[in-house]
Amino acid sequence: MNNVFVYCEIEEGQVADVSLELLTKGRKLADDLKCELEAIVIGADLKGVEKQIMPYGVDTVWIASDKRLYPYTTLPHTSIIVKLFGEEKPQIALMGATSIGRDLGPRVSSALHSGLTADCTSLIIGDHEDKKNNKVYKDLLYQIRPAFGGNIVATIVNPDCRPQMATVREGVMKKEILSDAYKGKVKQLDVEKYVNAEDFVVKVIERHMEASKVNIKNAGIIIAGGYGVGSKDNFDKLYELADVIGAEVGASRAAVDAGYASHERQIGQTGVTVRPKLYIACGISGQIQHTAGMEESSMVIAINTDKNAPINNFADYIITGDIADVIPKMIKQYKENTK
């Protein structure tokens, strides 16, 4: 009772990375609260799935396995969780901020009248003083998230309602196995007791999972390369940095014309206009045709060998140097500072 629960997403029989990251965080929270960590997996053909989960320090794995439960649809997963949470009364429940977690989480929170905070970037345990009612709450979950387009960071608490629910995006928390030998309990749920026939009114009739399409227009961080990047090999370094810091890669027209990147990544008058919170311009001189598509970026870092490049007029940070030298250093320093 009153433990930390993590909803584990399943894709192709594998527990999603985001869920394993949450289990890692959940273990830490459970240790801080001196309670247990429990996981719930809902899907089809889940035999042995606990082997993927327990090494993260999970004390109980709840399994609801039924062929109707995969692929995910909202209502049966909601019913199972709402009923199980009603019985087990977790104090904290975490889900991935994915198209599943962000579909399921609010539905569950609405049914249980519990508070849910989306897209948290940090979760820690702390006390809260309600000055107005002169009441002190011990060991609440601080749900920390950016809001207002990333211009503010808010700390949210749920003083009275349980569970305290939060979603977190993939890659925000670290994934770390506690011990391959960690032993927890497995509890199979009798699915029939948890779902109703009406829960299956929505049916998936077709499904194509594919590599996601390029989406630089809505990216929060863009690393854009210009002709000055110099080679396709150097351009690959931009992708490496993008992977590490969670960015999309864009390009100037000159870079697209040189064959370094495809047209769908082109930013500027003949490409797309972007307004990310961070724009890293690499080897881009800063012709008006390019800057017209990025000048509303909140923050600009310009990396260029020419210290008088016009792009520097738009920059908040100017780094005069070679892409092949600067980008690997940025990757290395990012990793060292996020350990």
Binding site: E11, T73, T74, T98, S99, D103, L104, G105, P106, R107, S109, S110, G115, L116, T117, A118, T121, Q143, F148, G149, G150, N151, I152, V153, A154, T155, I156, V157, N158, V202, K203, I205, E206, R207, H208, M209, E210, N218, I221, I245, G246, A247, K277, L278, S298, M299, D316, Y317, I319, T320, D322, D325, V326, K329, M330, Q333, Y334, E336, N337, T338
Partner: protein
Amino acid sequence: MKGLKIVVLAKQVPDTRNVGKDAMKADGTVNRAVLPAIFNPEDLNALEQALRLKDKYPGTEITLLTMGPGRAAEIIREGLYRGADNGILLSDRAFAGSDTLATSYALSCTLKKMGKIDIIIAGRQAIDGDTAQVGPQVAEKLGFPQITYAEEVVSAEKGKIVIKRRLERGVETVEGTLPMVVTVNASAPECRPRNAKYVMKYKHARAVSEMQNADEDYILLHNNRPYLNIGEWSVNDIETKAEELGLTGSPTKVKAIENVVFQAKEAKVLEPTDADMGELMKELIANHTIG
């Protein structure tokens, strides 16, 4: 064939996408004056899906429902200019301080009062909060099923709805029953522009709270043309439990707000060294730009 009854949930939001360097005041608070209030972008994608259903199924009626202060009537007019049939502004001090759950409660009480509805369509999320919670929370409170992340409503006939969804790693086509709550992604087609004919018809559409200083001629105009009166509902027009409204009805509380103020006013010049790159990364992580 009888048309559909569709309600589009829309929100007026500050335009957080166009935040420039002047968006924060010197004292570190958000400078709302420089952020224009706009029709939440994904709600426009939602409206377009509703309008396409209206094109396809004659007799369909689209009502725009928004909760907010009096000035939010502006987005109802925007909806009317594009082809919505009418709108309701839900406005009351009792809703102040609502988190997503209390908002969903107020909206669901309003929707219950609106009679039979086939489809409720909303944007996936609003750009001021980015939570994507209100759609599913409303669905749960109404006992309706939901289909989120919709990119296209393929059809809605004979009590069934077929929808194409766009997920992180793929697409899905799902079929469900009506009534249904649908939330629409930004990847769905953009909303059609204003229609000049509707702009002429509805440019004087006003909610009650916008009519307070109106002169007699203007009141007469509205009396003669009832379609110019935008419905405005207060807490008294719907059945609610006071303890579920506003701040009291909100399980989540804001404990602290930290403004992410960009410090460097002038460009900082960095050397391509490990030391400088380390400092840069620390700064970007500290102000939550990355990480």
